[in-house]
Symmetry: none
Subunit: 333 residues, 2 copies
């Protein structure tokens, strides 16, 4: 187990989106998020107290969590000095980056010399099977999106919160490093070997009680050419009974792909549903989750009303306005 | 790249089928297949000159390729003595077996002592990039299928052969172990980490002359729930200008998935094309490749005629009847 509380390391994050790991921890496990550490030029801010390593140590913080993901998942040389110093001052380090802490000789040496632990949550901890596609008991919801980093994890976490508030049996199933850091378990899907992707999701969401909901964190997008294969493995491995389509209305191109426009909600809905029905012919789309963080309340409500009117299923921003509508739809399945 | 020419190691193959890797090399890259090495009791024969290691060395052969798959994919103790001797005599060794050469201490030691290379084509040897989706110069064809193991590699190889016979610039691009051994290079896609799948295919098929064709070996199927993610990564990373849809009419369920029926050719055509157009809006379906190995000639021709009549594009079994029709369609793009 990773020791809490955390110092959220934001590094030299170029924008707020790059720090989504830190934001997720802060939003869903606020008790763990004791303070933040920002380097010169950092463009992200969790609104937590900025602390030096010495201040964090004095405040009883146990682990420095790398809360920023840069393209390619590399451990920047600019971060190294601080990470080594953190180990020397007695912090553990937890990371979900592709570039593993354990592959950096200076970090390994500093951890060993100071008796500290390096947690690479991205590394798969089990040998996943190849998917067998057999029908499983229990209900499963998968969040799919028009793009990456668009609110799929938040949607699943919001649905979990609302279902649990209603006394329903529900578990968020993490498929990315943020979700794993938040909940302490899951499949680091983007680091799984290609042949075992769908099998890892079958492993993550096994047979359960007939009325139990697995709320599966989505990844990528069927329309994001860098990661679409990961998305399809989730759709087929997850065998969802319901999809929720996630969208962010103000984004003008696919994340990291300036030449690519976002698909419409309707396109993602129809494409994802057709593919989902290969694994589960009874799958339906339950509703739409609209990420309105860049809209004022009036515009957000107007946009959501328009989506409902035009696309004919419940829509909401579950983080801003609650997941009630979505859970109403899921509870009827 | 694996150095050519090859000595095809047939070991103690119990039958011809066990030597299908060697057969593929001999069929598709006859210039690489300089000689064969057979142990006592070997039941396979490529019709090549049998050479001892010393003879092969004198003939300028560079690499011993393990052209036989035995039960369990294991490196037999009976083979070991010969493989070590080959390294000592200055050959590299290439293998697509599950049991990696690099996991055998005696082979590793002999390779190191003699400055030779062990090529385990089952595992990636390159750190692939994340796909960027940028438009590349040159033409690309991808074979997609209604199922796994349905003729996608043979289709691409047949098209390459026909294009080269017409003087067109064309290269088969291997994405699986057999294809890599046949051509000496490629991406072992099923062993690539999820996030880098599409990027590995961009890496495999970079910018080229405007009239050059990359003929990309397909993997899996969008409708095969175990491997569909791999297929979609190929569609988006490959950025194909043309798809050829491959089908085997006599198969009654998806390979390894007894509960799943095969999709129709039309379903695969439409689903794959819609997804391919995300990465390349100009992508078209060029035709259908029908694997008729389990049909007599009359039935095969009747089935192909029916596909053409009903689905409205050229169809053939390119291995049995030649790839002319498919290349006619591609050459017009």
């Amino acid at each position: 187990m990773i020791q809490t509380p955390y110092l959220l390391f934001l590094g030299d994050a170029p924008d707020a989106l790059a720090a989504k790991v830190a934001q997720g921890i802060k939003d869903w496990r606020p008790d763990f998020a004791a303070a933040q550490f920002r380097m010169e030029g950092c463009k992200a801010d969790m609104g937590l107290t900025d602390m030096s390593l010495a201040e964090a140590k004095a405040a009883g913080i146990k682990t420095l969590v790398i809360g920023v993901a840069n393209r390619g998942g590399v451990i920047s040389p600019a971060w190294k000095k601080i990470l080594v110093e953190a180990l020397e001052q007695g912090f553990d380090i937890a990371s979900g980056l592709h570039n593993l802490l354990r592959d950096e000789p200076d970090l390994v040496a500093a951890a060993k010399a100071n008796g500290r632990t390096l947690h690479d949550v991205r590394v798969p901890s089990v040998q996943y099977p190849i998917a067998n596609g057999k029908k499983r008991i229990g209900k499963r919801m998968l969040a799919v999106g028009t793009d990456c980093s668009i609110g799929k994890m938040y949607t699943a976490l919001c649905v979990e919160k609302e279902m649990r508030a209603r006394g329903m049996a529900a578990d968020f199933r993490a498929t990315g490093q943020t979700g794993i850091l938040i909940t302490g378990g899951g499949v680091p899907l983007d680091a799984v070997i290609a042949d075992f992707m769908a099998g890892s999701i079958e492993y993550l969401t096994p047979d359960n009680d007939a009325d139990h909901w697995d709320l599966i964190e989505g990844q990528g997008s069927l329309y994001h050419v860098s990661y679409s294969g990961v998305t399809l493995a989730l759709i087929h491995g997850g065998q969802p009974d319901a999809l929720i389509v996630c969208h962010e209305p103000t984004r003008d191109h696919m994340r990291g792909l300036p030449e690519y426009k976002l698909p419409t909600i309707a396109a993602v809905r129809d494409t994802a549903l057709a593919l989902a029905r290969v694994a589960n012919p009874d799958c339906v789309v339950a509703g739409y989750s609209i990420n309105t963080q860049h809209m004022n309340e009036e515009d957000a409500k107007a946009y959501i009303a328009k989506v409902e009117a035009e696309l004919g299923l419940p829509a909401t921003d579950p983080y801003r306005f609650g997941a009630g509508k979505l859970v109403d739809a899921l509870a009827g399945l």
